[in-house]
């Protein structure tokens, strides 16, 4: 067994057994860790694999969340069916953003700003749709917390924990397959040198569009989870710029384009936030803003000293640099 497989198995076992020792608080923190690992991985498909920087990625979380939640609240459609609509809506909007951007040659910083513009536009739009609650928010009726109803996604926190764990494991395995697939190599070629890729006969437009739509659809699944786990949605929180920043922090801090990066980044950042809260409260600082201030300083330190992310550095330390076939694949 390779060292990578041991690490992977150990990590999966630790997370699967965690509820045996973790109390409700720790479990809720782990849900947030997994959630950010999941959406980070979904974002990573677009940026890490295909090299297209999206700074408005919460657009797809919000669209997925609102679609499934509105179908449930207004028509009683269960989450297990609503998620198909959620993925379809997000992938379609992702397709529109991508098509507009790539067809008209909007590149680099400009493409990133285009994604922000779409997210912000949608945020203000949703604040003016009365059927979706507007700025006052959309609330999902809370059912029994003792059931394990996966069809309607109502029930015990433990169910949500194992669901998000399964989603994170699923997207990890999917991405692992993707990197080694024909599509994955196509993205790599486009990311590294678009002109050369086009000269080799790769349909660059289609490759980039596939990445955006796949990333958007998978992100929307995270949005569905978000809506049914928290039971309330506000345009400000679902589509706000701060959310987009949160999504991309884990994969960047963990290591862009790597498979372990988003998980490791989420495992560092979410507990770091909680730790800062605990420490500042223990020291008697109750003032608003102190937590975010420390968070900003930590972030500054991480980008300053490990700009390529923590995983590439840690991978070297653990001697996991090369996979069995000599390729860099973790």
């Amino acid at each position: 067994m390779s060292r990578q497989a041991i690490l992977l198995g150990g990590l999966a076992a630790a997370f699967a057994l965690a509820p045996l020792v973790a109390g409700p608080y720790l479990l809720s923190v782990l849900v947030v860790v997994m959630y950010f690992a999941y959406v980070g991985q979904a974002w990573n498909i677009m940026m890490g694999f295909a090299g297209q920087l999206s700074l408005g990625h919460t657009l797809y979380v919000g669209l997925g969340a609102y679609t499934a939640a509105a179908l449930f609240v207004h028509l009683g459609v269960p989450a297990a069916l609503g998620l198909f609509a959620a993925v379809a809506v997000a992938a379609a909007v992702g397709g529109i953003v991508g098509a507009l951007g790539f067809r008209f040659g909007v590149k680099g910083v400009y493409f990133a700003l285009l994604t922000i513009a779409f997210a912000e536009f949608t945020r203000i739009l949703f604040e003016h749709i009365p059927g979706l609650g507007g700025p006052a928010g959309l609330f999902l009726p809370v059912g029994s917390r003792d059931s394990f109803d996966l069809i309607h996604l109502r029930g015990h926190p433990l169910m949500f924990y194992y669901l998000i764990l399964a989603m994170t494991a699923g997207i990890f395995l999917l991405c692992r397959r993707l990197v080694r697939s024909r599509l994955g190599y196509t993205w790599l070629a486009v990311r590294e040198d678009q002109e050369a890729a086009a000269a080799l006969g790769i349909n660059v437009f289609r490759a980039k569009l596939t990445a955006v739509m796949l990333s958007a659809g998978l992100t929307a699944l995270g949005g569905v989870f978000f809506a049914f786990y928290y039971n309330n949605l506000f345009p400000n929180q679902a589509f706000g710029m701060n959310r987009s920043i949160e999504i991309i922090l884990a994969p960047i801090v963990g290591g862009l384009g790597t498979l372990f990066g988003p998980i490791l980044g989420a495992l560092i950042l979410t507990p770091l936030g909680e730790l800062i809260t605990a420490v500042t409260e223990a020291m008697g600082f109750k003032a608003a803003g102190i937590k975010q201030l420390c968070y900003g300083l930590s972030l500054l330190a991480i980008v300053k000293f490990l700009p390529d992310g923590v995983w590439p550095w840690l991978r070297g330390r653990l001697g996991l640099d090369r996979g069995p076939d000599g390729e860099d694949e973790s």
Partner: protein
């Protein structure tokens, strides 16, 4: 066209000119250093807090305190570029983004800790004076602020056209390798450029403090506004920033007049999307 609407458009134009000065700072920094300053609005908010503090504690009119605030922001910008950002100039965009987002988070929460969550406004004695120009009414503060913004923009253009430092900075922007070959100190010039961009922000913040209240959330909003203006006008084009500012200023009041004030942002973002797709170099930018 009703008189009321004409008044609104004039208000939008004048406010837009002050926005322009802020956006000009962003444009100068991006045009030369090639780093997108995602902490731009937060720096503007810092300048607004400084103007408020000088007014409240020393009874200094923001129009008088403006040079001092611009100087403070110049020093801040210079140190930021020298101490932090310079090491990231050749790094990928997403890393620069995270760096500036971290700086922005620190600034927003630093001001939340220092000044609290409440809105702070500057009420000068002539705050409610108006001039009658034919059938139109013009606010005195708005007119003064717009005139000052326009004047500073003009000075900046003169600086870049006439002085040796200005020409050297333009040389770095036009041909970085050439600038290094003839022995220009690029590191130093980048820091001066960031300082000049920040000084624009300082002056614009002092003027804005006369027109709108400042609170911690003002920063991120102004960052977005600055982006929209420079993209619409053309990143790196100084005339474009002026045009973009006035356009967005007018579009904001029109959206508020015909629809709802809360929808004004949606209009600005819709304009941004249209420009990015149809004319990504901006209205006055040159096609590369």
């Amino acid at each position: 066209m009703s008189i009321d609407l004409a008044n609104q458009i004039l208000t939008g134009l004048l406010t837009g000119l002050v926005y322009s000065l802020m956006a000009l700072g962003l444009s100068v920094i991006f045009g030369v250093v090639r780093v997108v300053n995602f902490a731009h609005g937060e720096m503007t908010a810092l300048a607004m807090y400084a103007a408020w503090a000088l007014f409240t504690w020393l009874e200094l009119d923001p129009l008088v305190g403006m040079p001092l605030i611009a100087l403070m922001l110049f020093v801040l910008g210079y140190i930021m570029q020298r101490g932090l950002i310079d090491a990231f100039v050749s790094k990928p965009e997403h890393i620069q983004f995270i760096l500036l987002v971290a700086i922005a988070i620190i600034m927003v929460n630093g001001s939340l800790l220092t000044f609290g969550p409440d809105a702070h406004g500057v009420q000068v004695s002539y705050g409610f004076d108006t001039y009658e120009v034919g059938p139109l009414l013009v606010d005195k503060v708005r007119l003064l602020a717009a005139a000052a913004a326009l004047g500073i923009s003009g000075l900046l253009m003169l600086f870049f056209r006439r002085t040796m430092t200005g020409k050297a900075i333009r040389a770095c922007a036009d041909n970085l390798v050439g600038a290094k070959v003839i022995g220009l100190n690029v590191k130093q010039l980048y820091a001066v450029t960031f300082g000049i961009g920040a000084a624009c922000v300082g002056a614009a913040g002092a003027l804005l403090s006369l027109l709108i209240d400042v609170m911690p959330s003002t920063g991120p909003e102004l960052t977005m506004l600055a982006f929209i203006i420079v993209i619409v006008g053309g990143l790196g084009s100084m005339g474009g920033a002026l045009l973009g500012g006035m356009l967005i200023g007018v579009s904001e009041v029109l959206a508020g007049y015909f629809l709802m004030p809360s929808m004004k942002g949606m209009f600005s973002f819709a304009i941004l999307i249209l420009i990015l797709v149809l004319r990504p170099q901006g209205l006055m930018g040159a096609r590369k």
